[in-house]
Structure formats: structure tokens, C-alpha cells
Amino acid sequence: MADASAPFRIKGETGDWEVVVGLEVHAQITATASKLFSGAATAFGAEPNTQVSLIDAAMPGMLPVPNRECIRQAVRTGMALDAKINRSSRFDRKNYFYADLPQGYQISQLFHPLVGEGEVEILLDEKDENSAKRVGIERIHVEQDAGKLMHDQHPTMSYVDLNRAGVALMEIVSRPDMRSPAEAGAYLRKLRAILRYVGSCDGNMEEGSMRADVNVSVRKPGAEYGTRTETKNVNSVRFVMQVIEYEARRQVEVLEEGGTIAQETRLFDPDRGTTRTLRSKEDAHDYRYFPDPDLLPLELDDAFLEECRSSLPELPDSKRKRYEGSGITPYNASVLTAEVETARWFDALLEAGVQPTQAANWVVAELFGALNRLGKSIEESPVSPSQAAELLGLVADGTISGTIAKQVLEIMLETGEGAADIVEKRGLKQTSDTGAIDSEIEKILAANADKVAEYKGGKQQLFGFFVGQTMKAMQGKANPQVVNERLRAKLD
């Protein structure tokens, strides 16, 4: 694995090149069941044109009315990114003609966005606090999505599906602060996690609720920014990283051959992992942005902002710090907070009164492994946090050993029975009965006289062998500490 602290460089003929990346992430506000300016539904996968209001279809005389909940979610998102919330913002029209854009303009926010500057902290190495880096957020604005053209329905015509037309998007614009595909990947994952914690966007990139425009340029380290290209609508973290990798190499090649980079919009081809020109700067639209006269400035009052802030959940960074503060390793803390569902599950486990470090180890090592084998997510876990707490409680109070706990977990996953019941019914309770343990030890030592001799002759590492044999004979139920003590007493 590459050293995360070493800067990412493209090796060119003329030396090393640095890549500069900025991302514009379009995140659909999935927290609301209706569109930004209309009451139409926004469910994914609905029959074409079944979620279209008169407003979305831009019928004559129809007017947009902002959906307050969309604004609230965007404000909460801004707060979660430590961003400045603009108490007064405005909607602007971005004018262009296309069949998927019924109004002939998109309502967006160019001049006065809802959210100003903020930042996201990313960790390039989950095990290393020192690998943290801050990526600046320039702004977040809310805007309407467009509809969708379907080219495969008719031999000579394209069909239009307006279900997405008017859906609320947050455009989260980063500063050009990322310097490698890995940083961009970490930023996207972190952003996605925060959105999911806040609940404003489900982060589902496959369904298009999150997609990114990727701005890439290259330069010699320390030089001025180069000319950037923008690759539109990239819909997975992996693809974003591929775009950066490909674009950076392509640009270096062009520059080293004496060419110049054209400021242009490009498209990603996921099958080939390449990008190609969509339109050049010369062909760029003149969008004729101007304030939407159908909408008044959006003014946010104290009570609204206070409600937005107080309704924010604990966010990944503070949660991670809280976990670390209770003794959980940085790695475990990072893994447990990466997804909101995991964190929620783990918090429920902690609330049930388990010992944090033990619980964290168990979740990361045992539960994740088991769920992985079952192909289930943590939300689908057959074992609930309270059931897990019961199991961990049995380990903590010495009722069962860690080894037995693994068995018990398997049975729990299979049968859904409670840990205590399983231990009771199947007689898995750990024993500290020295009589029983001693008698097994006697038998083992007698059967392995040669090894006893070797041990006494100085082969200390054989001690583990005797422990293992004893535990096996006791079917794992012996208290390991007692086994150790009794063996030492007999052998030393």
C-alpha cells in the first residue's frame, strides 16, 4: 500500500506533475417526499411521467413556491459542513433550451446562494489521525433537477420523462483543495457520510441521488493553477477517482507534447474508463442568469435557524472523538462512524451498558465478519444491539469465554435465540471448577509425557499447547485464567 503521506504525483517526461481537483457534488434532497417548488412525489423508479405536477410540466401560468422542508434540509447540511448560512438568499434562472427542461430555465442560485463557505475534514488513513486534511467548501446552493430523455423507446424519436424535473438538489461546491484521486475519494465518502448523518440525502449514487462534476487540472508542484476540464455527472466514488487519474494523465501528456488544455466540458465513459469532449468553451451556453421574478428573496429567521441547528444529530467527527475518548482505538472509531447506520447501531449497543472498547472490538471483528458472511447490512442484522449487549455481558462477567462467545453468536444468528438462553440450554457456561480442570490436566500430562519432559527441559513455548489441549478437553468451557494457574502449578 502506498504511503498516504507521500504526495500523489504524475511522473511525466519533464518531471513530476501535481493534480488539482475540485468537485461539484449534486446531492438530491431525499429527506422530502416532494420537489423543490411543487408538491409532486420524487420516488425512485416510478413509471415515467407519473410524478409530474402542472408546475413541473411548466404549464402556462404556473408558479413555483419553495418547499420549506427542502430549504431546511439544505440549511442543516450547511451547518453540518460548518458553513456560513446566508440569512438572505435568492433564486436565479439559468436559461437554456432542452427537451428535458420544461420551463426553458432551471431555477438555481448563482448570485446569492443559501450556504457560503464551510469545510470537510478527511482522513487519508483511517488509522492515522495525522493524515487528516481539510477540504474547503465554497458554497452550497439549491436548484431544480431536469427531466430525463429516453432514446431507446422509439426508432426515430426521443421520449421525455419529467419525473425528475423539479426535484430538489443541493450543489455542494468544493474548493480546488484535493491533490489526488484518493483525496477526492475520501472527500466524497466523507461528504456522503455527513449527508446521511444529517438525513438530507440518502447518498445513493446508483439511483442518482448523488453525482459529481469533476474539475481537474495539472501543474508542476508549486506553479500556478493550470487550465481545468470539467467532467460531468460522474456517479460513483470509483468513477470519480478514475476520471481524475485519466484526466490528469491525459493533460500531462497533452502539455508535455507542447499542447494546451482546452477549458471544456467532458463526459466520462465508464466502460472504457476514459473521458471525451462534450462541448468546448466556445460552444458554452450563455445561460443569461437573472433573479427569478416569480420568487421573493429567501429570508431565514432566528427561530428557523435555531431549529435547524438543534435538530442536527451528532456528526461523524465528534462521534469519532467521543468514541476515542472512551478508549476505542482510532481505527475502530473510524470504522464505526463511517456509516450512520453502523454508528446508530453501535450507539444503541453502548446505551445498553456494555464496555466500549470490548464492544468496539467485538462489532468490528465478530459482528462485521458474521454479517459479511451472511451478506447482510448492519440494519438487517439478525442480532439487535440489546441482544448483543446480553452476549457481551456474559463475556464480561466471566460466564462464557471469548471462544464460546463466537459459538453463541453463530447460534444467535441462526436461531434468533437470546445469548443467555443459548448458554443455559447448551451448557456452554464457563467453569472454574478446579477439580474438573485438574482431572483433565492430569490426563493430558500423562498422555504427553514426552512433551512434559521437553517443556521442563526449557521448551517454554509448549505451555500454550497444554492450555489448548485442556481447553479442548473442557470443550472450551473452562475459565482460561484458572487453566493457566493450574497448569503452572503442575508444571513449574
Binding site: 402542472l54 402556462p60 408558479l63 436559461n95 427537451a99 420551463q103 426553458g104 443569461r288 427569478d292 421574478p293
Partner: protein, 492 residues
């Protein structure tokens, strides 16, 4: 049976309620009058059955205590208002045969008050015009004739030309109009009737085909000030479906009418004395000042220094908004679509070329130009700033006066064809009307007298924001003193 079409709405209401005549009789007489006046080209669609149905409902409910304020009154509706299932074309070929599945808030409010609909009224295409000559249906012909012996067909003004002609010709007791830069007031003045544009936001714009969103306002046109008050009361009101609608109760304007202006200061703006205005108009203005003095008001000279910039400012802002508002007429979802073209862009171009008339195209071009990159600040931003200055002019003027009195238009009605080849001359029609539109203030036109050619002239009263009552009261005072009873001699 007497001629019910000669009665005011207030008189019709009284006669119907007292049982002197039935609502059905009113509707039948008006339906007949409408059918007998097709030469005027005032209606684009006649809906006699609608008027009769509402009349029957009114007759049945006549003695009920919940009788709506307009029960038994049939009205004409400008073609800019969406009317469910009835052609709504904004006077444009691009919306040919368009029947909306929804009803505009204003017309729905009128229906709720018990009104029936006589039909849809002709207008300048998308309300862009001051003579009704830009209508795809051909111009409305004013019922008035000049006494100069020419017998020329005259314009009723525009854009609410069908509305104005219908009231003047006695083929509607009252109508809806819309006013973006004088479209209610100028035609009212040209046809010797009353019309009021309320404060921006008083009437919902929902379901009114948009021309320039920040300026468009619906208002009534009728034969008397009282009728305007009755109609406006029914039309106005907060509408959550229009973000720019004012969330305020609707005052009881009709009950509050009083022509006693004791203590009121009437501002006379010196900038409205402009060159080239016929002497008759300035004489009527002076007469108007005398009439208001007679009611106990005090005239004061005021200054509205940015008046001369109002027209150019309007012709930047209104086309800019229109160029965007009219982008939705693209042939994709409703209205006209030109077939037989290869690409989407070709379809747009062919549809819009065939669907829009010359004036609409001109304004789309102007609007597109002033919003273009490189021109935006010089035109649009500058115009927005001047608009603020014009608003401030009024605010400052209203520190020293309560109402403003001006002529409504700089000329009487002119012959059809006279100005249609000179857009600037046409735009000058609204030189007195546009400032109040830019400032969003209530303003009304009331007939003051006839010029030397026997054509009606109007006086304009501009009030403070939300002071429709003050405007109506001054209108009533002028109406009482002017004693304007002239009617066009029937020739159609």
C-alpha cells in the same frame, strides 16, 4: 323587459337581489349582446352556457344568506387567465386550442363569488402591445368613432383591448384585465371606462399566463368606480400558490367608498407635463385638479425626477423577464408544434417562428440581448437600479402628498394601423402608466371627458402601496364631478 346591459354591476346586483329581474335574464341579454357584437372582435371565445349555468345557480340561491357578492353577474375574462376546459391562448398562435385543466386563482375567486363567464376576451399577444393589434385573432375594434368624419376603425388600446371594448360596448358589465405597464389603464382611458391595477401582489398571478412576473397584476375594468371596487374585492386575496402574493386581508373597498377628500393632498408631478401631449389632455388634467380641490383636497406640486427613465427601464426589465417566461412555449408539451423538421433545435425554431408574432419576437430578442453575458450589467442591472430609484421617487413624493393625479395616456385612441410600424411611438402610449407599474403601486384610470374629436380621455390616480381605497375614493370623486355619461354610438 328593460335593457339590463345598460346597468352597472351594483345596479344589476340590487335588481337581481330584490327580484326585479332574474340572473338568467341578465345572462340571456348579455349573451345576445355578445353575439350581436362580433364585428368588434372583442371575444375570442363565447361561453353563453357558462353564463347561463352560473345565472341558474344564482337564481336558485337568490334568497339564501350565502349569496356571493357577484351572484347573477356575468363577466368577460381576458384570454390571459387560465379557464378550465376553455381555450386560453394569451392571444397567441403558439397556444392555439390550448385548454388548461386548471382555473386561474383570480377567475376562480370570481366564480366563487357567483359570477358566470360570457367568454374570453381578445388581447395583444402575451399582453405585449398597446393597441390590440398584436393579437393572433386580429385587432379588437373600438366601439368609439372619432367625430372627424373619417369613420376610421380605432384601437381600444391594449393589451386589455377586448376587455375595454366589451365594457364600453355594453357586452360585459365588468371584465378582468391585466396590467404590466398600463394594460388596464390605457385601454380604460381609450374607451371611457374605469380600470384599476391594484398594488403588486394583491391579486394572485397563479394561472395567469406570465408576461413579466415582477410587473404583472390583474385588475378589474368596469363602467363605474364602485363596480371596480366590487370586482377587485372578489378578485384579490392571498394565494399560497403565488410566492409574490401579499398575505393580507382584503379590505371592504366598496363599503369604504367615499368621495370626501377633505385634508387629502393631491400630488401633481411636474415631470408628467411633457412635450407633444395634446392640449385637451393637459386641460383635462387641470380640470381634474379643480375637481379634487372641490372635494376638499389640496393640490401640491411634486417631483418624480426619474420619470423620464421609466419607459426605457420598463423596456429592459419586462422583455428580460418575458424572454425567459416565454421559453416554455417550445412545442414539446402543449400548444403549437411545427412538424417535419429533423432536430430538436429545428423544431424549437420552426415552432417559435410560426407561433409568435412580430412584437413578441421583438421583445424576446430585446430580453435575450439585455440578459446576455457582457450586456447584463449595462442593461439589466442598471435597469434594476433605476427601478429602485423610481420607487424611491414615489416614496419621497408620498411624504408630501396622499395621491397623485396624472393623465392616463398621452393621447386619445388612435386609428388601427397608425402606430403599428413604429414600436417606439407605440411604447410611448404607456409613458404615464409605466412608473406606477415599476413601483408596484395601485393606480386607476377614470374617464374625465371627451377630446375635441369626441373621444374619451382618462385621468390616472396613483396611490400609496396598499392604498387602493384612497385611489378608488379619488376615482369616485372625479367620477361624480366629471359626470361622464358619454357612450359610443352603436354602429356594429
Amino acid at each position: 323587459m328593460s335593457d339590463l346591459t345598460s346597468l352597472s354591476i351594483a345596479e344589476l346586483r340590487e335588481g337581481f337581489r330584490s327580484g326585479e329581474f332574474t340572473a338568467r335574464e341578465i345572462a340571456e341579454q348579455y349573451n345576445a349582446a355578445v353575439a350581436g357584437a362580433r364585428t368588434l372582435n372583442a371575444y375570442t371565445v363565447e361561453t353563453p352556457e357558462d353564463a347561463l349555468a352560473a345565472a341558474s345557480a344564482a337564481d336558485e340561491a337568490r334568497t339564501s344568506s350565502e349569496l356571493g357578492s357577484l351572484a347573477g353577474i356575468p363577466l368577460g375574462i381576458k384570454d390571459l387567465f387560465a379557464t378550465r376546459g376553455v381555450d386560453t391562448t394569451a392571444g397567441s398562435r403558439i397556444l392555439k386550442d390550448f385548454k388548461p385543466p386548471y382555473e386561474s386563482t383570480v377567475s376562480a375567486n370570481l366564480r366563487k363569488a357567483g359570477a358566470g363567464m360570457l367568454g374570453k376576451l381578445n388581447m395583444d399577444e402575451f399582453a405585449m402591445g398597446s393597441s390590440n393589434e398584436t393579437s393572433a385573432y386580429g385587432p379588437v375594434i373600438s366601439p368609439w368613432k372619432a367625430a372627424d368624419g373619417s369613420n376610421a376603425a380605432l384601437t381600444p388600446g391594449g393589451s386589455s383591448g377586448g376587455s375595454a371594448a366589451a365594457v364600453a360596448a355594453g357586452i360585459a358589465p365588468g371584465v378582468t384585465g391585466t396590467d404590466t405597464g398600463g394594460s388596464i389603464r390605457q385601454p380604460a382611458a381609450f374607451t371611457g371606462i374605469c380600470g384599476i391595477k391594484p398594488t403588486y401582489g394583491r391579486c394572485s398571478r397563479w394561472g395567469i399566463v406570465s408576461f413579466a412576473s415582477s410587473l404583472d397584476q390583474a385588475g378589474p375594468m368596469a363602467r363605474t368606480v364602485r363596480d371596480c371596487a366590487i370586482l377587485l374585492e372578489a378578485m384579490a386575496g392571498f394565494d399560497p400558490k403565488d410566492s409574490t402574493s401579499l398575505d393580507l386581508p382584503v379590505p371592504n373597498w366598496a363599503a369604504g367608498l367615499s368621495s370626501d377628500l377633505k385634508g387629502k393632498r393631491v400630488g401633481v408631478p411636474k415631470e408628467y407635463r411633457i412635450d407633444g401631449v395634446p392640449a385637451d389632455i393637459n386641460a383635462l388634467w387641470d380640470q381634474g385638479i379643480e375637481w379634487l380641490k372641490d372635494t376638499g383636497a389640496t393640490p401640491v406640486e411634486i417631483s418624480l425626477p426619474h420619470t423620464k427613465y421609466a419607459l426605457p427601464t420598463y423596456y429592459i426589465i419586462a422583455p428580460a423577464e418575458a424572454s425567459s417566461n416565454l421559453a416554455r412555449y417550445d412545442g414539446v408539451r402543449y400548444g403549437l408544434r411545427e412538424e417535419g423538421v429533423k432536430t430538436l433545435d429545428d423544431m424549437y425554431a420552426a415552432t417559435r417562428a410560426a407561433g409568435f408574432g412580430a412584437e413578441v419576437k421583438r421583445r424576446i430578442m430585446i430580453g435575450t440581448y439585455v440578459l446576455s453575458a457582457g450586456f447584463y450589467d449595462a442593461y439589466f442591472t442598471k435597469a434594476q437600479k433605476v427601478r429602485s430609484l423610481i420607487k424611491r421617487d414615489f416614496e419621497q413624493a408620498f411624504e408630501t402628498c396622499d395621491l397623485i393625479l396624472t393623465p392616463t395616456a398621452p393621447s386619445a385612441a388612435f386609428a388601427l394601423g397608425d402606430k403599428s410600424s413604429d414600436p417606439i411611438a407605440m411604447y410611448l402610449n404607456d409613458v404615464f402608466a409605466v412608473p406606477a407599474s415599476l413601483a408596484g403601486l395601485p393606480a386607476m384610470s377614470v374617464p374625465g371627458g371627451l377630446d375635441s374629436d369626441g373621444l374619451p380621455l382618462g385621468l390616472q390616480i396613483i396611490g400609496r402601496e396598499l392604498d387602493e381605497q384612497g385611489v378608488l375614493n379619488a376615482g369616485l370623486a372625479i367620477e361624480e364631478r366629471a359626470g361622464f355619461t358619454a357612450k359610443p354610438k352603436r354602429w356594429w
